[in-house]
């Protein structure tokens, strides 16, 4: 798979259709995001496979936003998995990236990774390398809904109490791009105090994720306290789907019902 990706990147760079490609590189035994600009410099390119396939993932879209803000006229390529591509669709929708300034190099995730990520769509629409594998059915939200109210309350209270307010979930999130963050607004979130304001801190973030979260699971992987944040955002996605028939990042040109002026669209 990596050879096809390398060829594709090399071609894009040599014919000048992109200024650079944001992908992953293996350096000193570690996987890190890297901007490749020369076609003969692709040796360290990797797909984030260390011990298992794709176990080192990075929010490359987030790196791309930073670069695109500096060089708004240039076209950049980016390595995308299914989740990354969903993220790009949302970033186009929210005017953070221009679709005609981005070229994707889509790779499908192997079944093993799809399973590990509980991914519903482990392949991008525009596929360059890899075989499409089947999406995984998710169960977590239903299990939580089946518990009674007081059980849910104590579960989340315990989970939220573990938070050390590192802001890792926000910093890793490919959908978090705001220059000013509500989680740093002292009118909402008290500063320098632990435990966090329960449930304000986590629900504020969840509400901001309602029409954005693309279910990549990086927040879960990052959280040092092991709070099941993704479960919270899965629930918001489920509500959005049930109430408004909307799924974030599935259709390239879909607008969010929350941003549409006026009443909720007919189901």
């Amino acid at each position: 798979m990596i050879d096809i990706v390398r060829q594709k990147i090399s071609k894009l760079l040599s014919d000048g259709s992109v200024k650079g490609v944001v992908a992953l590189a293996m350096a000193n035994g570690h996987v890190a995001p890297c901007l490749f600009q020369k076609e003969d410099d692709l040796e360290p390119l990797c797909l984030g496979d260390t011990k298992k396939p794709g176990d080192a993932r990075y929010p490359l879209n987030k790196v791309l936003i930073t670069i695109a803000r500096q060089y708004p006229e240039d076209v950049f390529g980016v390595l995308v998995r299914g989740c990354d591509e969903r993220g790009l669709y949302v970033l186009y929708r929210l005017n953070q990236l221009e679709p005609d300034k981005v070229m994707t190099i889509g790779i499908a995730c192997p079944q093993e990774l799809a399973k590990a990520c509980e991914c519903k769509k482990p392949y991008p629409d525009e596929l360059v390398a890899g075989e499409k594998t089947e999406g995984i059915t998710q169960q977590g939200v239903q299990d939580m809904e089946d518990m009674d109210l007081s059980k849910r309350f104590s579960f989340w209270k315990n989970q939220f109490s573990k938070c050390v307010k590192c802001y890792g979930c926000r910093d890793i999130c490919p959908m978090c791009f705001c220059r000013e963050c509500s989680l740093e607004c002292e009118d909402i979130i008290s500063k320098g105090e632990l435990p966090v304001d329960i449930p304000v801190f986590h629900l504020t973030r969840a509400m901001h994720m309602t029409d954005r979260c693309i279910d990549c699971g990086l927040c879960d992987e990052t959280c040092p306290s092991g709070i099941p944040l993704r479960l919270l955002y899965k629930k918001t996605s489920k509500i959005m789907n049930a109430e408004f028939g909307f799924t974030s990042g599935i259709n390239k040109n879909e607008q969010s019902p929350l941003n549409l002026m006026g009443p909720a669209p007919e189901k």
């Binding site: 849910r152 989340w156 209270k157 449930p199 629900l203 509400m207």
Partner: protein
């Protein structure tokens, strides 16, 4: 609903409240603790009525178990 001074603001709020109330329920907090109603500033009696109704719902629920101890309580 369509008479809002801010045109569509109340519709936008309504959609978000729909999501938030279900999220509260998901986190084990009674969703009756959240309520959104639209009352014109010229409709004082309606406002009072709404608030009184809300109080009647809130009282049996009691104080939130998440209520923080204020410095006043400690002293």
């Amino acid at each position: 609903m369509s008479e809002c001074n801010y045109l569509y603001g109340n519709y936008c709020a309504e959609k978000r409240v729909t999501v938030l109330s279900q999220m509260l329920d998901f986190c084990g907090i009674e969703k009756d603790r959240l309520r959104a109603r639209w009352v014109s500033s010229a409709e004082a009696p309606e406002f009072v009525e709404e608030i009184n109704e809300f109080i009647d719902v809130l009282k049996p629920l009691g104080p939130s178990p998440l209520k923080k101890q204020t410095s006043k309580d400690v002293a």
